[in-house]
Symmetry: C2
Subunit: 305 residues, 2 copies
């Protein structure tokens, strides 16, 4: 199955979904939003697979556990929510000992503790195959409500919470999910749309554009680059890495111009970078340092500059 | 890792768990019970793995989807709850086409529809490896509250909702989770303790005994046998199959003698079988048709008759 098929499949699954009592946001955002007993619960699940999301030969069990919890926390952050409880299902390779399993769990538990998340259930299995970890995380929206992908408006400013690119060098395993940053921003300004950067800046920007029915221009020189992105010596520039590498797990969000100015005026303790503007004209564009504007491909991997 | 190590690991994980606001039942029952916004939510997660829970060469994608949803529904049934919403994470083998993925999803969706469960979120992945499906299901307790494993009392009668044994012949894939039966029973009588039979009658009875701090005697001649258990010709008797085969997904529950009589008096539309009695003396026992009482091993696989 190709990536194109995978996207078609997800679209098809989304079409199959039935309406449910209290369901405010279903498949297609970073988390579902489900009203129950007067609360807005946020629900998300992520599965990590050996050799896809990590290499067992290169990383510790604890860091896999960290990542498994962190990617879910990042989804709750993308909705500007507070995480509450988690369930964990694992398929452990039979040839790994119980110490490995404990370290894996400890990696999850440590990050869960840090964000006051209780692990309240699970399913522990062993098999003669690769490691798979699924975490399901449930949080709640704040009184200001959840932030969706669909709220971007022409004229909005685009921001990210940190430098991008080259996360494969380590950040994809060790990153801190932007829960506190999202809550802080949500208090200070009216967040119109938000997503966490997991597929890459360009791809995730397009998710916001698709759901909001708008376009955008990114300012190439304003995109903050990680040291890793600047140090990689391959056939792609640091800018290309920042646009196309996945798993930065920074937040990409849009706010009104007025709120954007407020954020830049230093009223915000969270580091934010103004990297572009939302427009009524559809599709994504990239304004290069020399002023040229070029189309921004959905997948950074394909773009041609 | 051996089964013994696996159980030790689960105990250890249970010890690591922190208390959480609103958490009424944590790791160690069929589902967690979490109070939120005045509701008692029931939460469970189960992972199915190729070559462990099903053989891709022998079963349809739809029946794998059915089973993945059904095992979770069975956990909600074991708490006498109503299922509400589900999240689905899959690792799809790259060499299977999109039709396979659709059929798998359709298997889940059909059963979800049947029990009015909405699939509200998911994570769809592909990899060059075996099929893994994780479903997380959330339900709610009825006004009578959730039924735990820990409420069995000496003098209680033990019941099951259907015949046992030999589910490997097909029932483990095609079974109907006992949601309606559990709700009906919960209305009619005071269910003291309940569990779904996934590990096998003997093992799951011991889970109730452990959590309730009691013992029990099963009546060998009263245990209902499936046709499959009666037809298997191997070195184990049909009785042994009924005690030790897993994945029957019938409910095992205890009620007071008075409520037990009520169920047998024909006031109950749900088929129930009176198979034993709870006692103050610890451990499980088996009363053979000739009156001999022998110890009941935790795992049916090991017992010596």
């Amino acid at each position: 199955m190709s990536d194109r098929h995978e996207l078609a499949l997800i679209d098809w699954i989304r079409q199959q979904a039935k309406p449910a009592v209290g369901l405010q946001v279903g498949i297609g955002d970073d988390a579902a939003v489900w009203q129950v007993g007067g609360k807005s619960l946020l629900l998300t699940t992520d599965m990590l697979m050996e050799d896809v999301d990590f290499l067992l030969s290169e990383v510790s069990a604890a860091s896999i556990g960290h990542k498994a919890m962190a990617v879910n926390l990042s989804d709750i952050a993308a909705m500007a929510g507070r995480p509450l409880v988690a369930l964990v299902a694992v398929a452990l390779p039979k040839n790994r000992g119980i110490e490995f399993a404990r370290e894996l769990h400890q990696g999850m538990q440590t990050l869960a503790d840090q964000f006051e998340v209780a692990i309240i259930g699970g399913d522990t299995n062993t098999w003669s195959n690769s490691l798979v970890v699924t975490v399901t995380l449930i949080g709640e929206a704040t009184d200001r409500g959840p932030v969706q992908r669909s709220g971007a408006k022409p004229g909005d400013w685009l921001f990210v919470t940190g430098p991008l690119g080259g996360s494969i060098r380590g950040k994809h395993l060790s990153f801190t999910p932007r829960i506190h940053e999202a809550l802080e921003l949500h208090k200070l300004v009216d967040l119109h749309a938000m997503i966490d950067i997991s597929d890459g800046l360009s791809a995730d920007l397009h998710h916001i554009l698709d759901e909001s029915g708008v376009g955008a221009t990114l300012f190439a020189e304003s995109i903050p680059l990680t040291d890793a992105a600047q140090q990689i010596t391959d056939d792609r520039s640091p800018l290309e890495h920042s646009l196309s590498d996945g798993e930065d797990f920074e937040l990409l969000f849009t706010v009104s111009t007025a709120d954007g100015r407020k954020l830049l005026a230093g009223e915000c303790a969270v580091p934010v970078f103004h990297i572009g503007e939302v427009e009524a004209v559809p599709n994504g564009r990239l304004r290069m340092p020399n002023g040229t504007i070029i189309p921004l491909k959905r997948s950074g991997w394909e773009h041609s500059f």
